[in-house]
Symmetry: D2
């Protein structure tokens, strides 16, 4: 934190800021400048809140300098985290493809789609049992029945499964059936859910909030890790902007930034970013080209009959092309930046 | 919903769209235009999903026409909803001021601040017992102890109290102690929490999500009302934009839009929008001038020592000025638009 | 500027940053911290570019500390700038209302509307002669004929006139006819136009760019002032966000921020922010309540026949109510913050 | 355009809307629905303005259905536009790389960098002679001297050159020296400049405005084409969002959308999107993977000494890697979507 004083700040005002800093157990280092004085806040243990200073007389601004996250930071752990799900490894050097329908609609539907995506090259199967829907009148998912279908898919195909967990009352249930637990974009700062996830024995796939900064996203991962669960996979899925030709705006610069700041793996969900089938293939290639560790893609064999998100679901033969193209691109970028 | 076909769409493609519409129990009405055909979707009971159409061959776009909300809509209930909390009425014709610290820190702190804000003219007291914090290492609130302090404030001052409820495990507790339950911006689409709130006997103060459209916000209220609780107070608190001179950008056009679309009362939280004390007074006046039904303002007698959000908390004498100014402005605008 | 080094930065890397700073004629002040070293950049004359540092080895970030503007800053000139246009004074202590149609369509239309708005209390008349339109096929304004009509309005009513200037070839013409020259939101960073405006003898009404930060906006004013024209009126007109219930999102916290940072007057255009008639009155009241120095409002006696922006134009009797309400609100807020 | 009436709209109000539609020479087609009436607007020649309807009594909303652009649309011209610049072809089937420094600083600097980028595989050379800078006190470019240096680069290397044109007074000059004229993000809706560009004999590289929708961007291209110049290259360079880990947020879904809507070529500028060197390579690969027709990349042999934008400039050996990687990726995606 750097506290910037007004040009006209008095020595008494500077002294007061120093006292506030020291009262919090930090070290204050005044830096006389050409025009004005700034005061560095050093040796802070936890996060320092700009709001302690911004209202004080003579203070112009308080600028955060260091990042508030610890456990997620590459400064704490230099080597990449690899996450093992059954026989699948997620993280640096691997390209992991997760695919399946938006929602589990029936056993036949799930098994059919799982067959297609496995054949095309997917490593994990996804499908929603509990669905967060904007409208209370929309299909809300099959619930536990959906979880049981997921378990059957795993049994039949050998693919580990990923599904979303939405709340406390159903957490144990989802944890029991699913190999990876997804926390959705709307729950990224549901801190109670994050804490419960931090006590889970399952890897957590943490989607970025639709208006979250990378710092807030990494702090959400920090909540999980602070409870002891270090198996966190980050998932970029687009952010909300003024743009409306896609459902969200996929923020691919998040990939190099997260890979630099953190040791955790980061995958990309092009389907929710796009919201339209015809953007999914180019965005998938782009995500792998940007060195994401994997993709999560929606696939449906009858998207026009899907109970949710049909518009963004690929047909199986389209997903087949996708798998081949992203594999070739992964071979080019190698998954590692040369500089 | 209006399905817009490509200029080059074939009769077969149009026919397929008609079939999909009818398979959902709706009526299809093709509208031949100058250049292209559009197809109206009529007599839908629930929301119609654009995604059913967007991926079909020959379809250029699917444009939603009607709003998906029912119970919150003024088309369903023309008269304004008034919400009674003790002796305080919230809604059309009333200006309700809610004030207090960001977080309850101690009994002395709460009672002191409550005394100040009551004297200045506040109708309800606010204070956080369970605090959603970006960092797991920040002060998370006093929990049940905080709730008990809130109860004492009510006992001493007669003011009803408002506090945030964050999750299932603590819902009953918060419901027991607090007169109004606040659902925070980060939980606006925590649908499980919304459903539980819909079963509560307490009025719900529903903050707008920091990147929520008004439609999504009203649909969140619809979740609560669909469970039977019709006592919902909406609270605009700023949205996330590229702007960084305030913590969020207060969206005051939401006030006339919500008042037109819905019968529910809408108040404004200028403190979280601003994030800085010196913007709170002008934004408070502006909110009342825009015909909000009330304000929720953070006040602290020692903001430089506050455990959270001190920078945006007003001093008691500043809050005093605020109450007088907004009362005068409410007298001008009358709380009702002349056109 | 504060250059923040990596935790693992070497003394050589720190030395290199110091050298780069000194090679630009500035003073480098290394600040050893608990974890890492930061280096302050002092005694810079002009703006220091973060890009000089961000790419260097061992550098984690470069954080701007001081503001780049000089002439617009209240640190340079403490007292409020008042701008005189005929008998009208714009700035602190005054509430100036500018009103008229979006575009000048005919002499009859302009004179008719001018009569209405003058009677209601407007101080200046506005109307576009050269119109920036999104489509090349839309009405582009009457050009010089429109300017001549504006001159007649001034002659008949005594009201000074405001109109937009779009480019070099027509600058002299507009400057000749109009009392105040408006630079539109799309030209806020048309630096050539700003420089020409800086050589003008007319006051410039500078609209905020639809995605401009306050810093960029003040820097645009700085371009004008740096050429010698110190008569700049700033105009907030809404910014582009994800919100779509209004054409733009009116950013009223810009008013207190600009009033604190700069001595220049700031007015608000609620019509372009709203884009819909029914939001204009509440946003106008809100803008005055936030202590804007004035309003610019679109009025048309036959908005359903207007050649542009009819949807946001008030009827004359609505504008009449607006003038009375904002005058009453101005009396409450007094145009000056008490703290 | 579809005009949506209130549920309670009267037959008289519907009749009035029909009359307004017909008074503009269009056909009105009322569509009685389950709840409410909507009215289609057909046979419009130019763009229909929603503002004609939104303010009318009984009207709830007016929803645009068809796109306002003509000449840029693939519905007007189905085949891809190819643009020839010397021996370089830009458009479908080709991957064009434009590279060079942000600003021309000296003949030595330009020639040196040109040598590097040509060897690595660039097809065109870029460099600013007239620079739009946020601050009036920053380096504004060498002006005509810079143009002459660009001419020398072309002479020496055989590469055609691209440079920005900022205004009328210097248009002829830039047009004389440069093979392609760039219109920058801040001038995307400088309509006077667009019209002048429409009269030019040079291809125009039109950058997307930093807060422009694709529709506005294509309408800007329409301005150029409507004057007779059909050689327009679109350039995505990132949009302004709440995200701050990159200078702008690169919107790669713009690539498939533009390619579907328009026949014009679209390239991507990853340097201005990123603003930081370490994001340029991943974003470049991503852009080509998304099927952009080319890239425009900043390269400098001594970025730490660059007079502008050094932080985002690649070193020559980094650019060399970039060229090799994107060429390999282009071979995978083939520049054409399989579906």
């Amino acid at each position: 934190m750097l506290v910037v004083m007004d040009v006209s700040a008095t020595p008494q005002q500077i002294e007061q800021v120093v006292k506030v800093i020291e009262s919090r157990g930090c070290t204050a280092r005044p830096i006389p400048g050409g025009d004005r004085v700034s005061i560095g806040v050093l040796n802070n243990r936890g996060p320092v809140d700009a709001s302690m200073f911004i209202g004080l007389p003579g203070v112009k601004d308080a600028v955060p300098i260091t990042k508030p996250y610890k456990l997620v930071s590459r400064e704490t752990k230099a080597g990449d985290t690899l996450i093992q799900v059954g026989e699948v490894t997620i993280g640096n050097g691997h390209l992991t493809i997760i695919a399946g329908p938006c929602a589990i609609e029936s056993e036949t539907q799930a098994i059919t789609i799982a067959g297609y995506v496995k054949k095309a090259g997917a490593h994990l199967f996804r499908g929603g049992a509990f669905k967060p829907r904007t409208s209370p009148y929309s299909f809300q998912g099959l619930g536990e029945e959906g979880l049981k279908i997921l378990a059957k898919v795993r049994e039949r195909t050998g693919m580990p499964v990923v599904t979303e967990v939405m709340d406390f009352p159903t957490f144990d249930q989802v944890e029991h059936y699913s190999d990876v637990l997804q926390i959705g974009t709307r729950n990224m700062q549901n801190f109670s859910l994050l804490k419960r996830a931090g006590e889970s024995y399952r890897p957590i796939l943490l989607k970025r909030g639709m208006a979250a900064t990378i710092e807030e996203w990494l702090m959400a991962a920090e909540y999980i890790m602070a409870q002891g669960n270090h198996q966190v996979i980050l998932c970029e899925r687009g952010v909300r902007t003024f743009v409306h030709h896609s459902r969200n705006t996929l923020d691919l610069s998040a990939v190099p930034v997260v890979r630099k700041e953190s040791h955790l793996p980061i995958i990309v969900d092009p389907s929710h970013a796009a919201g339209r089938r015809d953007q999914v293939l180019p965005l998938s290639r782009a995500a792998v080209a940007a060195n994401a560790h994997g993709l999560m893609v929606e696939v449906h064999h009858q998207p026009e009959k899907a109970l949710s998100d049909g518009a963004q679901s690929l047909y199986p033969d389209q997903f087949d092309i996708l798998c081949r193209q992203v594999t070739d691109i992964f071979a080019v970028s190698g998954g590692q930046e040369p500089f």
